[in-house]
Symmetry: C2
Subunit: 160 residues, 2 copies
């Protein structure tokens, strides 16, 4: 199939400069502050985003190389298919995080609950809208037994 080429719209800044010891998800990063700096040419595209409390940030795992088809995720000791986990070494290393939007200042978004490595290239920003994005009556497979263990969970070196 034909390749798809994207160009980053900006860069994410956080206190996390090492893949190990960082929050594995926004729910393990409550209160952690960071920012997303868009290229100035995209500033106009942020109009009215400040009315939303949360944004979906789509970014590229720039420190991930290669992929596994099955992997042991941070929350388990058994291997699962790569499409059944949120681990970074994926066929296409795309990730998304739902972050709290604190303030928009020109081309800079100040965010909270950030679980993203410093200097990560960002591909898209979308407003988070529960009626579009939140499902009900959800079953979470192998993650069920880890419920409640996610808060405060940090990464280790397994994906390096």
């Amino acid at each position: 199939m034909d390749s798809i080429v994207y160009t980053p719209i900006g860069i994410i800044h956080s206190d996390f400069t090492d893949k190990s010891g960082m929050p594995i998800q926004p729910s393990s990063a409550i209160g952690k502050k960071g920012s997303i700096k868009l290229l100035p040419e995209y500033t106009e595209g942020l109009k009215d985003l400040d009315g939303f409390s949360h944004i979906i940030v789509i970014y590229h795992f720039h420190k991930s190389e290669g992929h596994d088809l099955q992997t042991i995720p941070f929350l388990d000791n058994k291997a699962h298919g790569i499409f059944a986990v949120r681990a970074p070494k994926r066929p296409n290393s795309i990730c998304l995080s739902v972050l709290k939007l604190i303030r928009v200042e020109e081309n800079i978004l100040h965010v909270e609950n950030i679980d993203i490595l410093d200097d990560t290239p960002v591909l898209d920003i979308k407003p988070y809208i529960p009626e579009f994005d939140a499902a009900e009556n959800v079953k979470i497979g192998w993650v069920e037994k880890s419920k409640g263990k996610i808060k405060g969970k940090m990464s280790d070196r397994r994906f390096e």
Copy 2:
């Protein structure tokens, strides 16, 4: 910034062959069935996905060309920044939908609530996990006044 190159992992099939007259979001597509056919080489990556009731599908809007920095979305008659709407003509035409997973059959995912055009290339599949992906105490800016109008809302030709 350096370009990022992805290769689709499969193709999405739905009854929607025209950008106009199709659901604008999964919540306007309740019960609509479709499928995601992964390349056979990725079948092993689906292990244990069948335990999840919902998946996040990340795909490329292959029928979208160019982008606007501000646009009038389907749910409003005023222009908003492209990063404050979910419209397809974005700097990087990436989209995501949270779909109901009905059944996994080898390399084929049977899904429901599909709001995606037939033949769309898929970039990634992730399990939907409310503790990771659902935010609380959410403010939805300009969308607030459209609440409850999304069910059954179909696209028109404005983005062609």
